[in-house]
């Protein structure tokens, strides 16, 4: 028997939690953004693992779509970060607090 799918799921869950804690702990916007990428990747790993469990290709196709959405998200998000840096001269999330009540 090959490696059980559960092992991959645990690894993906650990990667997701690392990314989530990174978003919550770090205040550098670019690092937070990279942590979001990490979370998207961990979900992709889950999809591919389930694809092997179910023995069909659907999970891989959905994973491909997630990659496309992630690429679009990175494009727009990094443009926003560059604009934010022009306005605030900083990449610290705490400096962007104009909407804070």
């Amino acid at each position: 028997m090959a490696v059980p799918v559960g092992y991959y799921l645990v690894l993906a869950a650990a990667l997701f939690v690392v990314g989530l804690v990174g978003v919550l702990v770090r205040r550098n916007i670019i690092i937070m953004f990279m942590c979001i990428e990490l979370m998207l990747n961990s979900v992709n790993l889950t999809l591919v693992a389930f694809s092997r469990l179910q023995g069909n290709i659907e999970g891989q196709v959905l994973s491909f779509f997630v990659m496309v959405v992630a690429a679009a998200e990175v494009t727009v998000g990094l443009a926003l970060i560059v604009n934010l840096y022009r306005l605030r001269a900083s990449t610290d999330a705490d400096d962007v607090d104009r909407l804070r009540w």
């Binding site: 028997m1 090959a2 559960g6 092992y7 799921l9 990667l15 919550l24 023995g55 491909f64 970060i81």
Partner: protein, 236 residues
């Protein structure tokens, strides 16, 4: 790739090979992810993320998703990380940034909630699958015909790229086309967002502005060239 397929076909030795690959690559993946959020230098964090993307690509290959293995290498480790590094170099933010704790106890709370979520995910989602590598061979070969489960080996018989492509361009062709529209919109959005502020005026229809600003100007603000031109006119 050929090596992986070979070991997969060998059965018992293939399983232990996959286990070793999983253990080594999984540890590397988790380690690089942890290093990414612990690195103070942003460029180092980005490089750790590249390592993490490569390890995940290897896991895709182990999981018989060869197409995604290549796409992960090209799109994530190639294009997306180059984009990240470009922005890092553009902004010049490789100075160290301090961890700030603006909300009291935010870090400890985040760690606590993270551990709780990990426990919930590992126990609730991954728990039932700890003993199964495929739904197709739960109770031996006889159940394959019973469940109608084909298994990735059979799906990928003509190649994984062919299987994914057939699925993408037949059953999922509509989402695929919507994705292309999404990518075009994202590219246009990035172009619009990337313009400099003064260029934004070009996007608005120019209203012919009367010239009160010009009359307010001090005579001294006229450029030497303009003054010289005026003198030239007077002389003529």
């Amino acid at each position: 790739m050929a090596l992986l397929a070979q070991t997969g076909a060998e059965g018992a030795t293939g399983a232990s090979a996959e286990l070793w690959i999983f253990l080594v690559i999984g540890a590397l993946s988790l380690g690089s992810a942890l290093a990414m959020i612990l690195m103070k230098n942003t460029v180092h964090a980005a490089l750790m993320l590249v390592v993490n993307f490569f390890t995940i690509a290897v896991l895709y290959a182990v999981l018989q998703a060869q197409f995604l293995f290549v796409v992960q290498m090209i799109v994530y480790a190639g294009a997306i990380m180059v984009l990240f590094l470009f922005v890092l170099m553009l902004l010049g933010v490789y100075a160290e940034q301090q961890f700030t704790d603006r909300i009291p106890g935010q870090k400890t709370t985040a760690l606590l909630l993270g551990v709780l979520l990990l426990g919930a995910l590992a126990g609730g989602v991954a728990g039932p699958y700890m003993g199964r590598d495929s739904a197709c061979n739960v109770a031996g070969a006889s159940s394959v015909a019973f469940t109608g489960c084909r298994g990735l080996d059979e799906v990928n018989a003509d190649g994984n790229v062919r299987a994914v492509g057939l699925s993408l361009f037949t059953r999922y062709v509509w989402p695929f086309e919507v994705m292309s529209v999404l990518l075009v919109i994202a590219a246009l959005g990035a172009m619009v967002l990337g313009r400099r502020d003064e260029d934004l005026a070009d996007l608005v229809d120019r209203v012919p502005v009367s010239e009160p600003a010009a009359t307010d100007e001090e005579p001294s603000s006229a450029t030497p060239a303009a003054v010289a031109a005026g003198e030239q006119e007077e002389r003529d």
